[in-house]
């Protein structure tokens, strides 16, 4: 992979990691647990 390719990959990994951490923190918040307790949290 080129240096530019590695740069894009690293940037995507950092942004993606930050988004995942943000999302997981919200998933595990008390509000989410209330939503989860509804039993319809996922409307699959």
């Amino acid at each position: 992979m080129t240096r530019r390719g590695w740069g894009y990959t690293a940037a995507a990994a950092i942004i993606g990691g930050a988004v995942v951490v943000w999302a997981l923190r919200i998933y595990l918040s008390p509000t989410a647990v209330v939503g989860f307790a509804n039993g319809l949290f996922w409307c699959n």
Binding site: A23, Y27, L28, L40
Partner: protein
């Protein structure tokens, strides 16, 4: 005999190389627009459960009203996919995506202003169900399948399915933030606007729909249906997909209650659902890409078998936060990898000319499985005060699905004889 991909003949010359590069970029643009559409369409619906408590509390409705609307939505979604798929195959996906986006946006906006449970069922059940039918897998995978030559389809299907999984994972916390920050009413209106964005995105996703690739044999709708219905592999694939829906909805709907019954903190169950969502992104992509290297029916069979093993292991070990987290991660990885593989097998056997319609039919089977998995799980629990029978059914269904995928003949189906 099938024509080769238009790019294949011309790449040997500089002009051909330019044309090949142009076609690759064109396909990439279609893939990006399609991925964003699926991120929105799958993600928005995934967050609806979060609206249950604030809406029912504010409006004084019973939860069954909300649950009925969601059940209707799932059935309408499944039942409408073959028809939307057929229309997209025959007349192009653009109009289907535009109408689907309109239904979706109108449905979500009307959910916000529904004054009675019946109006809510009409909005969230019928309109959003139709919106989903027009903007999700069957139509989008058809668009993507037609943009790529057969050798690159598995990769493209994997990317677009992973985008849908990403939407499911990421729009749930977004919905929570919006409900917490602006209230459920404004949150729904913002989601209605997001659904409306599908319409302009559709213009980009369908710039060259039906023109970019080998579509498979020229045939009428009736001939395509007869060909599929007389192919044993089509029914086996459809049966396997029923099992997929049955397993997933049971877990999504009943795992929370099961874990609480086992004395676990609700936060452990929340962790499992979050991990299912997260690992689903990687699983859809990785398992879909395996279709490039290995026979797709074997990977499908392994997925169903692996699900059965994971469920059995989860039931055999003592339930703890760790076992729940591991279960969530493993099941998440195996969650939607079936979609690109099932679609890939259909494209290989029948070509992409009627792929949206055929996938729509298999997806209807998936939705029937979902409906039964969710409903029977509750029915059996009410009857026996235990989920044991339902878990056993999940294991059995998984094993059957693993086995019935094995005899599928993945070779392109021969064209039916045409009378002279």
């Amino acid at each position: 005999m099938r024509a080769s991909h238009p790019n294949a003949e011309s790449v040997g010359t500089p002009a051909g190389a330019d044309a090949g590069l142009h076609a690759t970029r064109r396909a990439l643009v279609i893939l990006v627009f399609s991925s964003v559409i699926l991120t929105l369409s799958m993600g928005i619906r995934h967050s609806f459960g979060l609206f249950l408590q604030p809406m029912t509390t504010d409006l004084g409705w019973g939860r069954e009203s909300f649950a009925l609307a969601i059940a209707v939505q799932n059935l309408v979604w499944g039942a409408s996919q073959p028809f939307f798929g057929w229309f997209a195959d025959r007349h192009g996906a653009r109009r289907v995506l535009l109408v689907g986006g309109l239904f979706y946006a109108a449905g979500v906006a009307l959910m916000a202003s529904a004054a009675t449970p019946a109006a809510y069922t009409l909005a969230a059940g019928l309109l959003v169900g139709l919106g989903l039918g027009g903007t999700t897998f069957a139509v989008i995978l058809g668009v993507v399948g037609r943009a790529y030559p057969p050798a690159k389809q598995a990769n493209a299907f994997a990317v677009v399915t992973a985008a849908g999984s990403f939407g499911q994972f990421i729009l749930v916390p977004v919905a929570m933030g919006l409900i917490g920050g602006t209230g459920w009413y404004q949150a729904l209106l913002i989601f209605a606007l997001a659904a409306a964005v599908i319409m302009p995105l559709a213009m980009g996703a369908t710039r060259n729909d039906q023109q970019t690739n080998d579509l498979g044999p020229a045939q009428s709708t009736g001939a395509a249906l007869r060909q599929a219905f007389s192919h044993k592999g089509f029914w086996l694939l459809t049966g396997g997909f029923f099992a997929c829906g049955f397993q997933l909805l049971f877990i999504a709907a009943h795992l929370p209650a099961y874990l609480v019954d086992k004395g676990l903190d609700p936060k452990a169950g929340m962790l499992a659902l979050a991990l299912i969502g997260l690992f689903n992104i990687f699983g859809s992509f990785f398992l879909g890409r395996l279709g490039l290297r290995y026979r797709r029916k074997y990977i499908l069979s392994i997925i169903y078998f692996a699900r059965t093993l994971v469920i059995a292991a989860f039931l055999l070990v003592p339930v703890s936060t760790w076992s729940v987290a591991l279960f969530g991660a493993a099941m998440g990885f195996l969650w939607l990898g079936t979609v690109p593989l099932t679609n890939g097998i259909l494209a290989r056997i029948f070509g992409t000319r009627y792929m949206s319609m055929l996938f729509g039919i298999t997806f209807f089977s998936h939705q029937l499985g979902s409906f039964l998995g969710g409903w029977l799980g509750g029915w059996v629990f009410d009857l026996t005060h235990s989920y044991d029978i339902a878990w056993t059914a999940l294991l059995g269904v998984g094993l059957v699905a693993a086995l019935i995928n094995l005899p599928i003949d993945e070779q392109p189906a021969p064209l039916p004889a045409v009378p002279q």
